[in-house]
Amino acid sequence: MAEANTPDYKLVLEAALLSASEPLALADLKLLFEGTLDHAALVAALEQLQSDWSGRAVELVQLASGWRFRTRAEYQVYLDRLKPEKPPKYSRAVLETLAIIAYRQPVTRGDIEDVRGVAVSPGILKALEARGWIDTVGHRDTPGKPVLYATTRKFLDDLCLTSLAELPPLAELEKVIDTTHA
């Protein structure tokens, strides 16, 4: 039985940390053993536990407010499948900006605004840059030296394209527009 005088500290710590809904501070964890485990031994047990869990899909981490188990980021892709949430979608503004950069690169922000007829919010370009889909490839030699944007290799990879030439051709689209808006 676990009520024996010397519990297996690591097992108790593990159970407490796995079932806690908040990070547990060292002071909390000490309560588990009613002061029979000193600070150094507690930290040593935690570190031992942390290393026991290395290589698993769950890890023991030390946060500002204490210790807690959490799932590793690399496994998020699996765990996300359990959630029926719909994947997020980009707004039309983001998609149009991306399309303009993809088809007309390298382009400046001004170019994008010319095509769309509206201002491009910095957030849009930042989001696409953060995603690694566009980056700056230089500056146009015009007043103000505006930054030039182009799509990246990651953009092609993420869209399963081997080159920009594989983007759907626009010529047919224009024909469609020509006929519908003639």
Partner: protein, 268 residues
């Protein structure tokens, strides 16, 4: 069941003078309220009386039981306790059963005896006792948060931001949206060839980042095939036309150098 085995006991109880609260049931008046609160109702109190006197629930001696029960009810009334109506209803029921038992029974028509007036009470007592015990047993089962905890490992949904999926077709549709908006198609005649040129323009710009200067020959990979070399060359010309690169050659037949124009070189 084995009512015959219980008969002597029952007989003795019937023979005893009524209305004597067993000594072990005596409760100091000030504790009566607490004592009565321990009962969940008239059925519970009845069960207690039956068990205490070791009576057979299937052959309840109605007279002594009713008397004892009424003792309690009377005590409660004397104490001015807020007597639940359920207790009085039960008292009425017990008295009614007792009186029916005293009436001469009609001769049984068959082997199945006529309904015992106590039958309903017995059924209710048995069902109540079953549920009382079941409640105990449920309480004895290990119970989440009392006897054990569920694991709650933190799943940080924010740890990895979920990003929208985009397909090439989405881009095509986005472009279609732009065109629809623009209505006048103006000069947006983009062809496949031009695209390739634009892709290589990007490649060249990237290679020239951080102030790098490339020799003209370095720009071309002869192994890549003629179409690519041509597209690459067109890209270079387009970059020059758009003043994005500087092409320099100090004298005829000396190496041609390509660098970003001033505008581009300041940004790494």
């Amino acid at each position: 069941m084995n009512a015959a085995a219980d008969l002597p006991v029952v007989a003795r109880l019937y023979g005893e003078p009524l209305v004597k609260l067993p000594a072990d049931l005596y409760i100091p008046p000030d504790a009566l309220e607490i004592f009565l609160e321990a009962f969940e109702g008239p059925l519970d109190l009845l069960l207690y009386l039956i068990r205490k006197a070791n009576l057979n629930i299937l052959d309840i001696p109605m007279a002594p039981l009713t008397a004892q029960y009424l003792e309690y009810v009377e005590a409660m009334r004397k104490m001015n306790l807020d007597l639940a109506a359920d207790y009085l209803a039960m008292a009425a029921m017990l008295l009614e059963i007792k009186s029916r038992l005293l009436l001469p029974r009609p001769t049984p028509v068959s082997e199945n005896e006529a309904e015992d007036p106590r039958a309903e009470l017995v059924a209710r007592l048995l069902e109540y006792e079953r549920m009382k015990r079941a409640g105990h047993e449920l309480d004895a089962l290990p119970q989440a948060t009392r006897d054990f905890e569920w694991t709650k490992v933190w799943f940080d949904a924010e740890l990895v931001e979920r990003l929208p999926d985009v397909s090439a077709r989405d881009l095509q549709m986005a472009w279609l949206g732009i065109l629809r908006q623009a209505r006048n198609l103006r000069h947006h005649k983009v062809t496949r060839e031009e695209l390739s040129v634009r892709e290589y323009m990007g490649h060249l710009l990237r290679r020239l980042q951080a102030g790098r200067v490339l020799k003209f020959e370095e720009l071309f990979d002869p192994g890549a095939g003629v179409p690519q070399v041509v597209v690459n060359f067109l890209a270079l010309l387009e970059l020059a036309r758009e003043s994005l690169v500087l092409i320099t050659q100090s004298e005829a037949f000396s190496p041609i150098y390509i660098a970003l124009s001033d505008g581009g070189s300041e940004h790494a």
